[in-house]
């Protein structure tokens, strides 16, 4: 759901950029306080893996494809929504500037949708679901699905404000596609949590500790 440059009028892009910069500065503050020698390599390899897997578009029905976003995964594993904002901001800069995936003027909106919504829905969804289910994988799957789905609905609203899509038709088609793409997001998130929890149970204990 990377919005290209032409899809949003410039004055609206400025507003999205301002909102994005507020969250980026909060994410930098988080990084300053939290990225110790243990978490720094983890967030770096997570970001690299998220970039690589984002490049792999998986076909879904309706002549469409989708890919992982990964902010929910980063937020869940590192125990803060700002981890998702931090990772996705840097990933989206590289994607936009080097690979023309997502616009430059629309990057603020993309950071809000994928980084901020992905990170916050992913993290708070996960912690809430952990209280109810006490199941890491189910909680991760559902939270990551919801992060993808809600980000897509917000994107549809932005498209409606931009005059690019009619609101209801946009919500229906974006919602339909991303309800399915979210299953990929949830599945890959659950598998990645499993791999990390198996290799480094100590890392997951810190972030899963929020359920205690």
């Amino acid at each position: 759901m990377h919005i290209p440059d032409g899809f949003i009028p410039l004055y609206q892009d400025v507003i999205y950029w301002i909102i994005a910069i507020i969250f980026i500065s909060l994410a930098l503050k988080w990084a300053r306080n939290e990225l110790n020698d243990e978490k720094l390599p983890l967030i770096a390899v997570l970001a690299a893996g998220i970039f690589a897997i984002q490049a792999m578009n998986i076909p879904i029905p309706f002549g469409t494809s989708g890919h992982m976003v990964g902010a929910a995964l980063a937020a869940i594993v590192l125990g803060s929504p700002y981890a998702g904002v931090f990772v996705l901001t840097l990933v989206l800069i590289v994607q936009g500037v080097i690979f023309a995936d997502g616009g430059i003027t629309t990057m603020g909106a993309n950071i809000i949708n994928m980084g901020v919504v992905g990170g916050f829905v992913g993290y708070y969804g996960y912690t809430a679901l952990m209280k109810v289910t006490d199941n890491t994988y189910a909680s991760g799957f559902i939270a990551a699905w919801a992060a993808c789905f809600i980000a897509a609905l917000l994107c549809a609203v932005e498209m409606a404000v931009a005059g690019t899509f009619p609101l209801v038709a946009g919500l229906i088609s974006m919602g339909l596609y991303h309800a399915i793409i979210g299953l990929l997001e949830g599945g890959i998130t659950a598998v990645a949590i499993y791999l990390i929890a198996t290799a480094r149970p100590d890392l997951m204990e810190h972030s899963a500790g929020v359920s205690a």
Binding site: D5, G6, F7, M56, G170
Partner: protein
């Protein structure tokens, strides 16, 4: 697993995904593009067929609607190297993966002051 082992294993996994991605990735429009094309008559919401000509017109039409004519020449557009085939795509995605790894690690190293 030790920290170094874990980091190396994760980097190798990321690079394996990066190398495989161009061979496995679908060329279908993504969710936003597909929604966009269906709004502008280049496909139906649930249909599989894309009208390439109409898709091109849609891209011109949306720029007229929003007035955002900003254009930017990215060095490796759509994860490819102009003039190169699959090898260029592999190179592009591997380069991007290494760049993101270095950028996040470097930015984190510069910013982080966890002791204070």
């Amino acid at each position: 697993m030790e920290q170094n082992q874990f980091v190396i294993a994760a980097i190798i996994l990321a690079l394996v995904i990066a190398v495989l991605a161009p061979f496995l990735a679908s060329g279908n429009p993504d969710g936003l593009e597909s929604a966009f094309f269906s709004m502008y008559g280049a496909k139906t919401v649930t249909g599989a067929d894309l009208d390439e000509g109409q898709a091109g017109l849609a891209e011109e039409q949306v720029v007229e609607t929003t007035g955002n004519t900003f254009e930017f020449e990215a060095p490796m557009p759509d994860y490819s190297i102009p003039g190169m085939d699959k090898a260029g795509e592999v190179t592009a995605i591997v380069a991007g993966t290494v760049l993101v790894l270095g950028l996040v690690w470097g930015a984190g190293r510069l910013i982080a002051r966890p002791e204070q």
